[in-house]
Every structure is written in C-alpha cells, then in structure tokens.
C-alpha cells in the first residue's frame, strides 16, 4: 500500500527525469568555461616561494643580511675560549704526592681524576711541596689553556692536602700506636717523594717538639 503510494507519488518526477532533454547550448558552455579560466586566481605561492620572493626585495635583503651578520657574530662570540685564569690553582700543589695518591685510590673515579690533574700538571711535583710549605705561592703559568677547565673542576673537588710536617707527625703517630709497618711504608713513600729532604732530621725535630 505504502509502496504503491510512493510509486505513484514519484511517477511524475521519474517520468520527467527520464523524458527531459534540455541541455545548455555549447556556446554557453564555452563562454562560461572560458570566463572561469580567465578568472582563475593565480595559485597561492608556497612558503618557500614567498620566502624567495621576499629575499629578492632590497629592503628584505638588507634585513636578512643584517640577521645573518648578527648570527655570525654571535656564533663567533660563543666559540671564543674562556680566559685562562691567573692564579686560581695556586694552592693545589700543597698536596704531597704519596698522600694525594692514597686519597685518590680511595676516592671515587671522578674525584680521583680531579685530584690527579693538578699533580700531573706540574713538571716537578716534589720541590713544589716545600715551596708550598714555606708559603710561597705556586706558579700556575705552566698550565695550558686547555687544562684550565679541568683544573677548575679539580679545584672545586679538592680536599685539604697535608703538609710534609703533618705527614711526618702521622708517621710518629703510627709508630706510637704500634703500626710499625704502616709507619715505615709512609716514611718510605715520603723519602721517595721528597728525596732532597732530610726526613730523619725533621722527624727527630718533631719528636722533640
């Protein structure tokens, strides 16, 4: 019933659709398509095309050139090496080599590296200790610029280094405590480290005092 009603309702519509013959004339088609073609807007340029066009304009050329110049200057400034610090590392040589080495062995790898750095930087570490002991500032001029950073780090992580007298007192303390082997070993290390020093005489002086 409903289908029959639907069919009859649309009979006229379908009939007209089937029988329709009207077509726009060819000259109208041609005219409209030609008008559409002539009115077609130019395709919008892409990002790169717009950028290249902008670069071709004189005022933008100046602007871009300025930007490039500033960029180059900034990169050069950023790459300039830091100034070598003058006497930042002066107290470092106070460390006596054997003790420093002992501490280095016990310390974590990073700390050990930092401790070794200044000692290794000196060409003659042994004589440096007396100089430090006598209060003379160690000269850091021999540091090269490329070691400056490493030395800075080591300075931050540096532990207080014992002087020769303190280490000799340590030898005395070990002897008194009955650790003769340890005392002898430390003394031997000190002899090796400070061959020019008369350690026995200094040890006796310390005992007297």
């Amino acid at each position: 019933m409903t289908d029959a009603r639907h069919t009859t309702d649309h009979q006229a519509l379908d009939h007209y659709r089937e029988q329709a013959t009207g077509e726009p004339p060819a000259h109208l088609d041609a005219l409209i398509l030609a008008a559409a073609r002539s009115a077609t807007p130019a395709p919008k340029p892409g990002l790169w095309q717009r950028w290249i066009r902008a670069c071709q304009q004189p005022r933008w050329q100046v602007a871009f050139a300025s930007l490039v110049g500033i960029g180059l200057m900034l990169s050069l400034v950023q790459r300039t090496p830091e100034q070598v610090p003058g006497y930042d590392f002066a107290p470092a040589p106070k460390a006596s080599a054997p003790v420093a080495r002992q501490e280095t062995e016990a310390a974590p790898p990073a700390l050990a590296r930092s401790l070794k750095a200044p000692a290794g930087a000196f060409s003659a570490p042994a004589p440096a200790a007396p100089m430090a002991e006598s209060g003379a500032p160690a000269q850091a001029e021999s540091f090269s610029a490329d070691r400056a950073d490493e030395a800075k780090v080591s300075k931050r992580a540096a532990v207080p280094v014992k002087s020769l007298d303190e280490q000799l007192r340590e030898v005395l303390r070990l002897q008194k405590a009955g650790h003769k082997q340890a005392a002898e070993k430390l003394l031997a290390d000190l002899h090796a480290r400070f061959p020019d020093e008369n350690l026995s005489a200094r040890l006796e002086d310390l005992q007297k005092n």
């Binding site: 009603r5 009859t8 009979q11 007209y16 726009p24 409209i32 398509l33 008008a35 395709p43």
Partner: protein, 203 residues
C-alpha cells in the same frame, strides 16, 4: 601543519579523487587557482540548473540568459556558500534570485510571489485516484504544456526536486517556505501532472 598535509594530499591527489570531491571542496580549490576543479563542478550542475531554469521561466532565451548570469556571478563573486548552505542550494538560490530580478526589472508579474489557496488546488486534484498507476505521455510538447499548467510555486518545487536533487528541507530553505507547504506543493504538482499526462489506465 594541517594546511601542509592538505597541500601535500592535493599535490599528489589522482584525478579520480578530484572527481569524488564534494562540491564545496571543488569550489574551494577553484578559488585557490585550480581551473580543473571548476570544470568538474560545472559538468555536475550544468544540466540540472539549465532544466530548472527552462522549466520555471518557460522561455529558452530567458533561461539561457539567467543561466549564464548565474555562472558568471558565481565565478566573479569569489565567495563561498555561507552557514549550512551547500553549494547546490547556493547555486540554485543564485539562479532563482536572478530570475526574480529579471522579472522585476522587466516589470513582469512575479508568479513566485503569488499566494494561492493550497486547499483549492488540493480539492481540484482529488479528481484523479492518487494510487492509480498511469501511463504518462512522452510527447515533449505535452510534457511542457503540463508543466506550464502548474501554479508557479508548485512548478518550482517540482522542478527543484526533479532536476536539482535537493531534498525537501533544502527546498524549503531555498524557497523560504515551511516544509509542510513544500511537501503539499510537491504532492499536488505530481497529482496534477499525472492527471494531465495520463493516456490510459493500467489495471
């Protein structure tokens, strides 16, 4: 980013995908400089629009004039359908407005602005059995004469439904007429056409 993806997809889009694009997408592409998109759009709607104008105006010269003005107006406007309007609704709206403008300009009585009693037409059409399947005439002159015998409001709705493929709500929006009125106009138009074109009764 989305614009870049769209650009890339358009760049490598095959012709078949262009054919399958919506009317709105084709118009947008034409506005961006793609001439082929307009050709596809034109091919889709040329026949329906022309037949609608021819049927509504009843004169070939007037239909051609309004047809041309409609397309040229669309080409030159540079705008897009607004709001919920589809391209199809928009196109037929332009054509309809152009035809009304023409009638107004030439002092012609505007039949689309007539108000008539829907009930009167309904009573007149009751003479034919609506559920009877008829054999309709295929004579082009008789078809045309039957169409022109319809009240213009009914003819407009019938033509829009027959040739534009717009659904009834869209026709209601386009003609600024309540949906129920559009439905009744279409029903009366079909009944009257069947009656005018009937040649013999099929049992």
């Amino acid at each position: 980013m989305s614009r870049l993806k769209g650009f890339i997809s358009q760049l490598f889009a095959p012709a078949s995908s262009l054919d399958a694009s919506s009317d709105e997408a084709l118009l947008a592409r034409y506005r961006e400089g793609d001439g082929v998109a307009f050709e596809i759009l034109y091919a889709r709607h040329r026949q329906g629009l022309y037949r609608f104008l021819l049927g509504l105006s009843g004169r070939v010269e007037l239909a051609e004039e309004v047809y041309q003005e409609t397309w040229l107006s669309l080409i030159r406007s540079g705008s897009q359908p607004q709001g919920r309007a589809t391209f199809r609704t928009w196109l037929y709206q332009i054509a309809r407005n152009r035809l009304i403008d023409h009638w107004r300009k030439h002092g012609v009585h505007q039949p689309l602005h007539d108000s008539y009693d829907e009930q009167t037409h309904a009573l007149a059409d009751e003479a034919a059995d609506p559920e009877q399947l008829l054999s309709l005439s295929r004579d082009s002159q008789r078809l045309e004469a039957a169409l022109q015998a319809l009240p213009t409001d009914q003819r407009e709705v019938f033509l829009l439904r027959a040739y534009s493929d717009l659904d009834l709500p869209q026709i209601a929006t386009l003609t600024e007429t309540p949906l129920e009125t559009v439905k009744s106009r279409l029903r009366y138009a079909q009944q009257k056409l069947r009656r005018l074109l009937a040649e013999e009764v099929l049992t």
